[in-house]
Amino acid sequence: MTDCASCADERTAGAAFCEVCGQSLAPEPACPHCGTPGGVGDDGYCEHCGMLAGRERDHLETDCGEVAASVTDRGLRHHRNEDAMWLTTRGAEVDVVVSDGVSSSFDPDVASLTAVQAAGELLVSGDVSAAIQAAQVAVAELAASGDPRRQASNPACTIVAATVRGDAVTVGWIGDSRAYWVPDVGPAEQLTEDDSWATHVIALGADPEQAMRDPKAHAITAWLGADAGKITPRTGEFVVGDPGHLVLCSDGLWNYLTDAAAFAAAVREGLREQGTLISAARWLADYANTAGGADNITVALIPVSPAAAS
């Protein structure tokens, strides 16, 4: 028997919360950086070493069982997670959005979260293009609110959104967050085409490997934000002929798996070794972190089967 520190009531040893006052009985968390017990202050910084203990968005998971799963992770080299994700399911229907904040803009984490919420709420209609347009309006409005520095360097982000209705998949995007179709067997397909400098010059005939090595390779040529002007989301739709997985991800993952075959191999390995969608998504985030974790990582996995098979 132990006393509750908050209300002096006795409780059964091992309980997590006080039976009477509901206060957590767990000891104050130790600082993950210097280990000082109870060191983390109300504002999230350690009272001893000053390091930020962590943010809620550092690692988030959405587990929709066998229907879909997604994971977003801060990675190893960025101080916060500026990726955001949206995943809702209604029976077998799936709405999914991934967004990556442009780190050179102000409050990019707010931009990406705003984008996935604005687009996600509209995807129920099935109109992916309209959802992305709504995200653009919402993100553009951020420049005129909150911190005045947003006006000079307006919040900006990428977006990739998809709906799954039975065997029909619709994808739309702005920027360099991607969607892939990874069939259980056979060659995988990148469903999106990056709005990036590298993609642009490769389309004009530049050597792909050389273009991807250029420091400008990842400079995006389209984005959501007040300075994006009029956007025209590109969209694609198809009906699956064989079972497989729709995969949405930010560049924090695909940077380490640039060609579709390598990407598909990693996705299949994750699915095969882990057994569940959520653990496979987690495994893919870990894969990127093991490879260096240079950027924020977001990945969503949605299995889709042909109508005849379901």
């Binding site: 210097c34 504002d43 910084y45 350690c46 001893h48 070493c49 000053g50 390091m51 930020l52 801060r74 990675g75 190893l76 080299r77 960025h78 101080h79 916060r80 780190s103 050179s104 102000f106 005045p148 520095r149 006006q151 000079a152 360097s153």
Partner: protein, 421 residues
């Protein structure tokens, strides 16, 4: 009185970088002169040394002192000190404070007519008497005006020892009339006593100067506000400077508050806004690390009015770490401007025209870049500015002493930078 504090900085540091800079703007609102949270005591010290007979100074000083008395709000405690070779209380009776009312203000005015110039200059003794009188009213907003026209006649080091013993107990705004006093001496008092220093070249302008100081003093509603700076283990505060409305280095005034925090006195506050530059050295972090480099609190005793956070975020993205924060850059420039002007004046006095030209040239450039028009105009009385953008100046052959002293005393005045990155 409500306070707000906001930190302006580029929190992103290159890997290996350890210096964190931020400008913290502290703004108070809600209080007025009539809503003081504590009492107030005012002491007016007027130099009555023999030299004050020159240029009608003593007559002008009498008039200015009367004007200052007229500005006193009812209920404020006050006293008048005549500064000679010793300190003599002019009003009320020695060792006492009067309470401002129509009656006491007119009695004080009669007493001022008895002020005659004869004797020496003993600033240490004057301030010591003021300290004794202020000691009767602990917790009051304590403010003194000191007028002088000459060098301190006390033995070397005495004034400093007095300042060491009374620093932080009250605020002193000093004014020098004429040009026979030393800027460095009054600046020493202003620095120690968190006050201002300025020249009043013409005795006729004394009344306006006294009214302005007294009006500002009557606007103060809170006695003793402090900036508390918490830093993490293995971090050190390199400096804390007030940078607006004028530059004042507070670094040496730190009083430890626990193992990792220190308090810096900000003096009395009314409804106003001031900017502070805080510079902290922290241990280097790894890419993606975020550290709280300083937690800045505006405090009054045990009450924490508001807080601002100064952060350090290490990144390998040079586009982020090389960003220039406008506020930090602006005030770094304003502090350099003040230092450069003072160095230029010293070099000119020492006959080193070459150094003086370089310093004043740089100052002209900094004043121009930052839009500090007042300082540009003061510089133009000492040098001919040929091209402010490149800092090309020529020393003037003849410079009026009053102009050079005005440039010196006002070199620390800064202008505010426009908000929004």
């Amino acid at each position: 009185m409500t306070y707000s504090a906001e930190a302006f900085q580029n929190e992103f540091l290159a890997l290996g970088a350890t210096e964190v800079n931020a400008i913290v703007t502290v703004t108070s609102s809600g209080g007025t002169g009539g809503l003081r949270t504590s009492g107030a005591t005012e002491i007016i010290i007027v130099d009555a040394s023999g030299s004050m007979q020159a240029e009608g100074r003593i007559a002008a000083a009498r008039q200015a002192a009367k004007a200052a008395v007229a500005c006193l709000d009812d209920g404020v405690h006050f006293a008048l000190v005549a500064g000679v070779g010793t300190a003599q209380q002019l009003f009320p009776a020695p060792g006492q404070l009067a309470v401002a009312s129509a009656q006491t203000r007119s009695e004080a005015t009669w007493a001022i007519d008895r002020l005659h110039a004869s004797g020496g200059t003993a600033m240490g003794a004057w301030l010591l008497l003021a300290a004794q009188l202020f000691a009767q009213r602990p917790g009051d907003i304590a403010h003194a005006i000191m007028l002088t026209d000459g060098d301190n006649g006390e033995r070397e080091g005495y004034l400093q020892s007095v300042l060491d013993s009374i620093a932080g107990k009250f605020t002193v705004d000093s004014r020098g009339v004429g040009t026979n006093w030393k800027v460095s001496e009054l600046r020493k008092i202003a620095d120690a006593m968190l006050g201002t220093v300025d020249i009043v070249a013409r005795p006729a302008d004394l009344t306006a100067a006294f009214e302005q100081m007294m009006t500002a003093a009557m606007g103060k509603t809170t006695a003793d506000v402090q900036l508390k700076v918490w830093t993490p283990v293995n971090a050190t505060v390199r400096f804390v400077k007030q940078v607006e409305p004028q530059v004042a280095d507070l670094t040496g005034k730190r009083v430890a508050d626990g193992a990792r925090a220190g308090r810096y006195p900000l003096g009395a506050w009314g409804a106003e806004s001031r900017d502070y530059h805080v510079c902290v050295d922290v241990p280097p972090g790894a890419a993606g690390d975020e550290m709280l480099a300083a937690r800045i609190s505006v405090v009054e005793g045990d009450t924490v009015h508001t807080q601002a956070l100064v952060r350090a975020v290490w990144t390998d993205d040079a586009a982020l770490s090389t960003r220039i924060n406008r506020q930090v850059a602006h005030y770094t420039g304003q502090a350099e401007l003040a230092d450069t002007i003072q160095a230029g004046i010293e070099a000119r006095k020492a006959g080193d025209d070459h150094t003086a030209t370089i310093k004043f040239g740089r100052a002209a450039q900094l004043a121009h870049e930052s839009g500090n028009k007042a300082t540009s105009e003061l510089l133009a009385t000492v040098v001919d500015i040929e091209d402010a953008a490149t800092g090309t100046v020529r020393l003037r052959r003849k410079v009026a002493a009053a102009d050079e002293m005005a440039l010196d005393t006002r070199s620390t005045k800064t202008v505010r930078v426009g908000r929004g990155q």
